[in-house]
Symmetry: C2
Subunit: 472 residues, 2 copies
């Protein structure tokens, strides 16, 4: 498949043909969300919102602009962002007294206010989130949904009385992730990032990574434990039961529009997009197959099926354009509609509809008498097999190695894998590995794995594997 | 009521007590949307989205930043915004080659792309909208939701083959407005703005105005007919049936977070917020009234009622905090919950629940046997009377005058009205009127009114009234 042999070109072509985004906007890396793409993103957002709200996160909206004075309070943090933020220096015709940063992420916007909101242990935990766009001045080559300068994302921020409670929040975040990912049929790995790769200001960072068709890694988002690294400079304290003032422990969690980039890449094929039913703008498309003298019957039956499925709350489209069915198949395959129903006179006579699955092309029939439950079980089957197929690919991308020369030095090698190897955990060995292999260590598995081996650099015995990969 | 005698203070107090917004963010006029306020705004947004989608508008998202070069193409437009836009001049550590404007509205972001999207008459009409934040460097005194520098709003943009089709779009927009406003119980007037007050670049502007408790006017939004004023500089053309290239005719429509400011102001009272059921985060609050030895029964019945109402898809809250019922009443009245249910042992014995309406304090009972339909009709009754009451106030705010000295010169006068008077339509008379009275002409009624009178300045006979008011 071209998807595997020429992923970069294939990816851009799917986006253009399915009309997900328009990259002709006159600022590089800032693209227009066209209706179909934005609809998919909105379904992903709804799914995120539902999981966050059901775990007692409140939705808020903080201002986009951050005064330089607040931005500079946490030193590690600003160091990480110094070269990639946009600066507002003028308003109207006048220069501003205090320059403003366009949010690259909202810690420095939120935390001065958290210090006003939190007074006592009764105000904890504080759990909020927002779904907004964020801005980073990327200097690398941009790519729609994957590397852009205006990034659509969610960010949740929490404050807790103790480090342990913050740790429990991380576990909750990962459970939320599991639920969201299962709805997108999206496989992922969780790696605790290396010390030199963690988020600026974090105590530790867990990266959420997924494997692209070219075996490069796409980071979808991350979860961070901040301990008191931000609450100290932003003075976020609470009074505990004994009247003592303590700093809160904080976490954050975020994932971006890369979720849609990953959806395209993981599930798509050479026919185009392939959407999980959960986030498909249309889950079902009905194509009437009119024969000689049977047009009216076929249209009538198609409309009847449309109404029944709408009533059952499916997102369904009846395509009665005056073009050949084959052309309709083609269009809706590009758009990734999970299920196609074909209704011809023979179907009507047999009291069935014919279905074709987008994910694997499988064809079958559903009895009209049990249309709704039939559709329901096919859609569930689609979700299940898309999920299994995607996880299989991700698992098979991994290769255990014991020597650095198992990794091809050519950065665009078609033999690229995700590498698993022993690492003593020492940063000297880590840096040395990355330098020799020209590859990034993703980290160590967040959930410990059974492992026994030797550090790939120094040869010391270790029970922790590390993972490395080239990244998008 | 303090609402009427001291509106400005009362307004800020309701916002603070109901926790709708936090204005302590360190940039003036950029406030934090706190959970309760944001939830109400989200319900308003959903209501807008529903009406726009059901009239075939597609949702999109255009970039926030606009290159100065695009921004400067329509000369009238830029003149109108020159003193109130934010400029991004640096990215990372470097100055930008082309400065970027943060969107004050999206004409200049969208129209270069429209010129790529539209090729032939088959691409028309193009109808899109987005719900985003927009930025204006306000120099006047800021006020939450009413005059802010980061403004949450929707903007719809349409392109049509002819001026007449664009005119039909304006009519559709006003019908959408009627539906949205009826859900918010929000009265409004439509005025065609004067030539000197129309939107920069517009052919004409219809202002959507509502009357505040102090009899000042709050503009909620506007509808604009652009004719070809933007399509010419942005070169948005289509090929018609005969192969001729023509410029499209455009309209826009937008309303802002002022809708929430107006909701607070129009419906609130000295007890706090009063929300229309359509946009209330909780439509119903259940307060158990436990007596001696009846606590368990009362709690059990309250939970039963909660479940039934949740099942019937109401947004309902059971308040079982361990404080006195009176304190609970107080809290939920501030929050504006439309309907309070009280459940005590006597209610249980009589097989009823007691209800109290937030809008007028009216008390009554609903039979438990017909709980859902009972609630439904009380909520409908609330919407109806909130709507009627609000329209009555708005109508009574109008005063017909024949002489300029009927208008008090004191800008904070408690005798202020919305003034209706004859105007010949000449801009010299208009300017003279505004100068003498220190008041703004809102315009002439968009839907013609039966009128016969004389121009308040020159005395010429006229069949068109104008309206004037002080504005927020």
């Amino acid at each position: 498949m071209r998807k595997y042999s020429d992923y970069n070109e294939w990816y851009l072509e799917v986006i253009e043909k399915a009309a997900l985004s328009d990259k002709r906007y006159p600022i590089k890396g800032m693209n227009v969300w066209t209706p179909y793409g934005w609809k998919i993103m909105s379904f992903i957002d709804s799914c995120i919102k539902k999981e966050l709200e059901s775990t007692d996160h409140d939705e808020v909206l903080f201002p986009l602009l951050i005064p330089e004075t607040e931005f500079r309070k946490e030193k590690e943090h600003i160091k990480g962002f110094d070269t990639e933020v946009y600066w507002v220096t003028h308003a109207g015709l006048d220069p501003l007294d205090v320059k403003l940063v366009i949010r690259p992420t909202s810690e420095t916007a939120m935390y001065p206010i958290f210090s006003l909101w939190i007074r006592s242990h009764q105000d904890l935990p504080l759990k909020i989130f927002q779904i907004v766009n964020t801005f980073r001045y990327e200097t690398k080559q941009t790519r729609p949904f994957i590397r852009v300068r205006e990034i659509h994302f969610f960010e949740s921020h929490t404050c807790h009385a103790t480090e342990e409670e913050a740790q429990c929040q991380i576990e909750e975040d990962l459970e939320i992730l599991r639920k969201i990912a299962s709805q997108l049929c999206m496989p992922y790995y969780l790696f605790t990032r290396t010390e030199w790769d963690k988020f600026p200001g974090a105590h530790y960072t867990v990266g959420i990574d997924t494997v692209m068709p070219n075996h490069k890694i796409l980071q979808l988002g991350s979860v961070h434990h901040y301990r008191t690294n931000f609450s100290i400079p932003y003075n976020i304290t609470y009074e505990d039961e004994n009247g003592e003032h303590k700093y809160v422990h904080q976490t954050t969690y975020g994932m971006s529009e890369r979720l849609i980039g990953a959806t395209i890449s993981v599930h798509g094929d050479d026919k185009g997009l392939c959407l999980p039913p959960t986030i498909a703008p249309f889950q079902i498309v009905i194509i009437p197959i009119p024969g000689k003298d049977t047009k009216n019957d076929v249209i009538k039956k198609s409309e009847e099926v449309l109404l029944r499925l709408q009533k059952a709350k499916y997102r369904v489209k009846l395509d009665n354009r005056n073009i050949r069915p084959g052309n309709k198949y083609f269009d809706w395959e590009i758009k990734g509609v999970p299920l196609r129903l074909e209704i011809g006179i023979r179907d009507i006579d047999n009291n069935v509809v014919t279905f074709v699955r987008r994910d694997n092309g499988e064809k079958g029939t559903i009895l009209l008498n049990s249309l709704e439950s039939g559709i329901d079980s096919v859609l569930k089957e689609i979700i299940k097999s898309m999920d299994e197929k995607a996880w299989k690919f991700q698992r098979e991308a991994i290769m255990s190695i014991t020597a650095t020369n198992d990794i091809p030095t050519d950065t665009e090698s078609t033999k690229l894998k995700i590498y698993r190897f022993g690492w003593c955990g020492d940063s000297t060995c880590g840096h040395e590995f990355e330098r020799i292999c020209n590859i990034k260590i993703l980290g160590t598995p967040y959930f410990p794995e059974d492992y026994k081996g030797k550090c790939i650099i120094c040869g010391k015995e270790t029970t922790t594997p590390a993972y490395a990969a080239r990244t998008m």
